[in-house]
């Protein structure tokens, strides 16, 4: 239950814990030696940052040196990842990171490079316009899988089977469909742009942290909170929010400003509220759990000496990246179709270089990935560099229920979310879940939190169904899940 509580706070369990009792996983950067019945676990690499310095000045000359050094490292990191006895393709999201990797690979492959993308029928999420721009500039042999809501909902049970943990978003499902396309195209290895946002300061949570820290210096300022509206231009919920409320949502009370987890409190607080859907029994069992304390206890000793930007980077790169992005949304769904992902940005030399940079070279003002963009400008056209950054997102609840006709799209959704099944598995409060589901079917619950709650409940029910109550029926362990017996289709 502690694991479930961690997932419903951080989006993943904290290693060595997994969703299953008695099954442990190695933390990132660790190795295990088993010898004559004894087990030794050893940390071989850890992300770290330099101690916070009062001001980090940068000069034009020094910046240029950094750009050149980054170029050398990244090109070599991509080059050595092309060593393979099979052809290597690349994922292309249309954003800066994967475009840059693709551009580098183009320089080092003689054969025509194949690129692969996810596109969405739902225009709110579709980035194929930008993907085509990059494809036309780099002249790659491009393939895309265009996902409908039904496609996503249909494969979700398989995604949970491979992820082996509850998920609060369904964004792993399109990645599952993408790896299937890669496999069907005869490819087994792809390079991707994962890791750039974490290491070079691309995510909005870093901007959010900067603005909140800036605001925290003068909590009564009326102008400082307005900067928050510049974040998340794609999120109407934030844009419509009265300013006086932003302050409360973005947690800048003095005790919150002092918290070592300051950067992530709004996200985790919001996520952990979906625990309200747990059954009374589960609530009683997790009552004394303190997931923040559990995470705080793991932080490296030097963490306290880092600036707030680096701390936010650490929390993102040491936890969400391996626990969710590279795992549930990355390796698990790629390996579902025996596709190996390779990540040049996560080359330890690139990571160590990035973490040694002063924060101003990662984010200058609110200009994200400053240094990386300087280098990318040598290889990519200006319109790719200038496009507004958009995180990868997939259509949420609409993949499972259709508000236009008020129905679930699949029988498994109705079955697993029925009162009987919820009561049988005992994890969630049937009445509360039923209320949520009917609101979603009617299109009346639209908040991010409602969507995460729905996906979290459904994926947990799927996990229990496939791994505990119906485990023996689920026999496929390989790449061709289409042909094998699945519990749910």
């Amino acid at each position: 239950m502690q694991a479930l509580n961690q997932v419903f706070t951080f989006w993943h369990t904290l290693p060595p814990r997994t969703a299953f009792r008695g099954i442990l996983e190695l933390p990132p950067g660790h190795s295990m030696t088993v010898k004559m019945g004894s087990i030794r676990i050893n940390s071989y690499w850890q992300l770290g940052f330099p101690e916070s310095v009062a001001s980090s000045t940068s000069t034009a000359d020094r910046d240029q040196e950094y750009v050149e050094r980054l170029g050398e490292l990244l090109i070599d990191a991509a080059r050595i990842r092309l060593r393979a006895d099979v052809p290597v393709g690349a994922y292309l999201s249309g954003g800066l990171d994967s475009s840059l990797i693709t551009a580098i690979v183009k320089r080092f492959t003689n054969s025509r490079l194949k690129t692969f993308s996810v596109a969405f029928e739902d225009p709110e999420y579709d980035e194929s316009f930008y993907q085509r721009q990059v494809v036309s500039h780099l002249d790659t042999d491009h393939h895309e899988v265009r996902c409908t809501h039904n496609d996503i909902g249909r494969v979700f049970p398989d995604v949970i089977w491979h992820a082996e943990k509850p998920l609060l978003r369904n964004a792993a499902a399109p990645m599952f469909l993408l790896s299937r396309l890669v496999r069907e195209s005869g490819f087994k290895v792809v390079l991707t742009g994962e890791g750039a946002d974490e290491l070079f300061g691309g995510y909005d949570i870093f901007k959010e942290t900067k603005i909140r820290s800036f605001w925290g210096v003068q909590p009564d300022s009326k102008l400082r909170p307005l900067l928050l509206r510049r974040l998340y231009p794609y999120m109407q919920e934030i844009q419509n929010q009265p300013s006086s409320y932003l302050k409360m949502f973005f947690r800048i009370r003095p005790d919150e400003l002092r918290s070592p987890l300051f950067s992530h409190l709004p996200r985790w607080d919001m996520t952990s509220r979906i625990g309200m859907f747990f059954s009374d029994e589960v609530k009683a069992e997790i009552k004394g759990c303190q997931p923040y304390k559990e995470l705080e206890g793991e932080l490296p000793a030097a963490y306290k000496s880092w600036d707030s930007f680096s701390r936010a980077q650490y929390l993102e790169a040491a936890y969400l990246l391996p626990g969710y992005i590279l795992s549930s949304q990355g390796d698990r769904v790629a390996m579902a179709h025996a596709v190996e992902g390779r990540f040049p940005f996560l080359d330890y030399r690139v990571a160590e270089f990035a973490s040694s940079l002063p924060p101003t070279l990662k984010m200058r003002g609110l200009d994200e990935k400053y240094l990386l963009k300087r280098f990318a400008a040598t290889l990519l056209p200006a319109d790719v560099l200038r496009r507004p950054k958009q995180p990868y997102r997939a259509p949420g609840v609409k993949s499972f229920v259709d508000p236009d006709n008020g129905q679930a799209r699949f029988d498994y959704v109705d079955d697993l979310l029925s009162s009987d099944r919820l009561r049988q598995y005992g994890v969630f409060n049937p009445h509360a879940v039923q209320m949520l589901v009917s609101r979603l079917k009617e299109g009346r619950a639209t908040s991010v939190r409602d969507g995460m709650a729905f996906t979290g409940v459904l994926s947990t029910q799927l996990l229990i169904h496939q791994f505990i109550t119906n485990f023996t029926k689920r026999t496929d362990h390989g790449a061709n899940s289409e042909e094998n017996t699945c519990v749910y289709r």
Binding site: P242, M248, S272, M276, N429, L436
Partner: protein, 109 residues
């Protein structure tokens, strides 16, 4: 006042707690700090006040001081009604008292 509080409590339990009763939530607790309402919640709350109690909530009134606990919400509604009554008394002294308490009002702020 008690009736207002009761209606607000019922709305919050239904809308934000999905029918669950949170015994630890007192009438003075901050709805945001307790995580009861999320970022869309504020707008839902305003919609509820306007529909249920027939008050009009001006943009500058959308502040936690007015809306961020059950008691603050109830007091806010009460104040709006009193203000409406006073205005009505000034404008139509002879008609005062004939309108029901929750009659539609058009208070602009």
């Amino acid at each position: 006042m008690e009736l207002i509080q009761k209606k607000i409590r019922a709305f919050i339990a239904d809308q934000f707690l999905f029918g669950q009763h949170d015994e630890s939530l007192s009438d003075d607790d901050s709805l945001i700090e307790r995580g009861v309402i999320d970022s869309t919640g504020v707008l839902q709350l305003i919609g509820f006040l306007e529909e249920e109690f027939r008050v009009k909530v001006g943009d500058d009134e959308v502040i936690p001081q007015n809306l961020d606990s059950i008691n603050r919400l109830a007091e806010f509604v009460q104040r709006k009604w009193e203000l409406h009554d006073q205005q009505a008394a000034t404008e139509h002294t002879s008609e005062r008292g004939e309108e029901p308490l929750n009659a539609p009002c058009s208070i602009e702020t």
